[in-house]
Amino acid sequence: MKIKEKKLTRSLSKLQLAILFVLPSIFVIIFTLGYPIGYGAWLSFHDYSLIDGKEAPTFAGITNYIYAVTQDSLFWVSLKNTLVYAIGVVALSFIAGFSIALALNKPIAGRGFWRTLFFFPWVIPSVVVSLLFMWMFNANYGIVNYILLKLGLINEYIGWLISPNLAMLTLIIITAWKLTPFMMVMFLAGLQTIPKEQVEAAIVDGAKGVQVFRYVTIPNLREMIMIVTLMGMIWEFQDFTYIWVITKGGPVTATTTWPIYIYKTAFRFFDLGYASSMGVIWMIAILVFSIFYIKFLSSEKH
């Protein structure tokens, strides 16, 4: 009887402890993520344009949503830009990070040094990265133009960031420079967990290098690939710093992505209701995308 009682208090205190430990985090999450999202969703059904002299939100039904989807061409342009940007950055950093990880997977001279070097850009502040590359890609005095000209790759100086055709590409390169280290360390960690026996067994069965890669390495990394590409997509959908610092969404609208467009709508044109409705559409879009992406990649297994 006594033992039972003791067990009960102990397990109860264990549960209480758990609740006590999780409660502060839950409180913070509700206050800083739950409530704001709820408020934003509520606002999205309201007309709340400070520039029109609205002092309080007035209910507007789904007019904001209808306007975004049917009349606002910039909404669609910025969706296209967001997709180009996010997919471009993730693809480029995926390829670069994966290649470096493969080169560092087996013992090689100076492995620790290489890993440190290639990981370092990840911690450099985004604003510093933006300013640095703004300088390097400067049309008149930038070192990039100078080097490319010297190498004979271009005939004249290029306005990397001021040409509507090149600004997006340049931003993708800059952002990928910053994301590659993340991809590299994640893949390196993933590669390290592949059981040696599997590789050896495949070689014994007569598999060549490429086949080992295709049938042993890739399947083992499937989950890692899913996590990093999904995280990368979600992050780059969010990205604001590089674009806002370097191009402000320009020239004209060439690099205006959703975050930039929504920010401008809310904090330049003070149309909070409309900005919120675009934010909600974005959230639903990325949620649906993620669900399909996870489903697609997990079902491809067999």
Partner: protein, 285 residues
């Protein structure tokens, strides 16, 4: 034997590949450093000077001590970033440590559920959050305050911090706890006297991560802070250097160097743990 393994044909190919890749990392950093030591004229000289011919510290002096036309400048931004960063570290690390312990030890939710929750939190459009934060903070009087920014940064860092720390806690064997329980430790003592000290490296790496998150954050710092006295480094630097009629690249790079140095030091101390923390949640053990 070892030498033979290092020098095999495929390794030489790999080394050449790595050296080429490293140029893309090293050169921009070198260019930042090189520009920061050039005077106004040399920065724009054509052809560019690979090495500063007349190296000078005037950019650093101007950036650190007295910037023309600015009442408050770099040191204030620097101090503000330190305050906000430290606050974020304290809040997010302690909150994450408590909840990560529960997620690691109580089997009511799986690894998948937590990973998905972390991913979903990351999906919330930051600009949408920002609109609500702005409205909420103006009601609560938190606009233009450090504490408001600390709250915002904590909410960004917390989900990933929890995920990272859970990975570290998972590595501490359960048998240690059971042994302590038999020895008469209370549940709370087990956590404070055994688990947290054992996970100290992990907690440290999460603290570094939280600091980096705050040190890097631009969007909220730009919008929720209105005056130079309270402003942090990222928006401070951009507002000082970008959008001027004539951009002073030398000053800009000098400021960039000063902002990056503390980060580089933290990085060199903690990179092993940071990598472990980032990957431990995602790798199947």
């Amino acid at each position: 034997m070892i030498a033979k393994r290092f020098m095999s044909g495929s390794n030489i190919f790999k080394l050449i590949f790595l050296i080429i890749c490293s140029i893309f990392v090293i050169f921009p950093l070198y260019w930042m450093l090189s520009t920061s030591f050039k005077n106004l004229g040399d920065v724009l000289s054509m052809p560019p000077q690979l090495w500063p011919i007349r190296p000078t510290l005037e950019n650093f002096k101007r950036v650190l001590f007295a910037y023309p036309g600015q009442r408050v400048f770099f040191m204030t931004f620097f101090k503000n970033s330190l305050i906000v960063g430290s606050g974020t570290v304290i809040f997010s690390t302690s909150l994450a440590a408590l909840s990560a312990y529960v997620f690691s030890r109580y089997r009511f939710v799986g690894r998948k559920v937590i990973l998905n929750a972390v991913l979903i939190f990351q999906m919330f459009p930051l600009v949408l959050l920002l609109i609500s934060f702005y409205a909420m903070f103006s009601k609560l009087g938190l606009l233009n305050t450090h504490i408001g920014l600390i709250i915002a940064h904590t909410s960004f860092a917390l989900p990933l911090c929890t995920w990272m720390l859970k990975g570290f806690f998972d590595k501490i064997p359960k048998s240690i706890e059971e042994a302590a329980l038999i020895d008469g430790c209370s549940q709370l003592q087990i956590v404070t006297k055994i688990i947290f000290p054992l996970a100290l490296p992990g907690i440290f790496s999460v603290a570094v991560f939280a600091f980096l998150t705050s040190w890097d954050e631009y969007l909220f710092a730009l919008t929720l802070i209105a005056t130079d006295e309270v402003r942090t480094l990222p928006p401070g630097m951009v507002l000082t250097f970008v959008g001027q009629f004539e951009i002073r690249w030398g000053d800009m790079m000098a400021a960039s160097v000063v902002v990056t140095i503390p980060i580089a030091i933290i990085f060199l101390i903690s990179q092993r743990l940071l990598i472990e923390g980032l990957t431990s949640g995602a790798v199947k053990e």
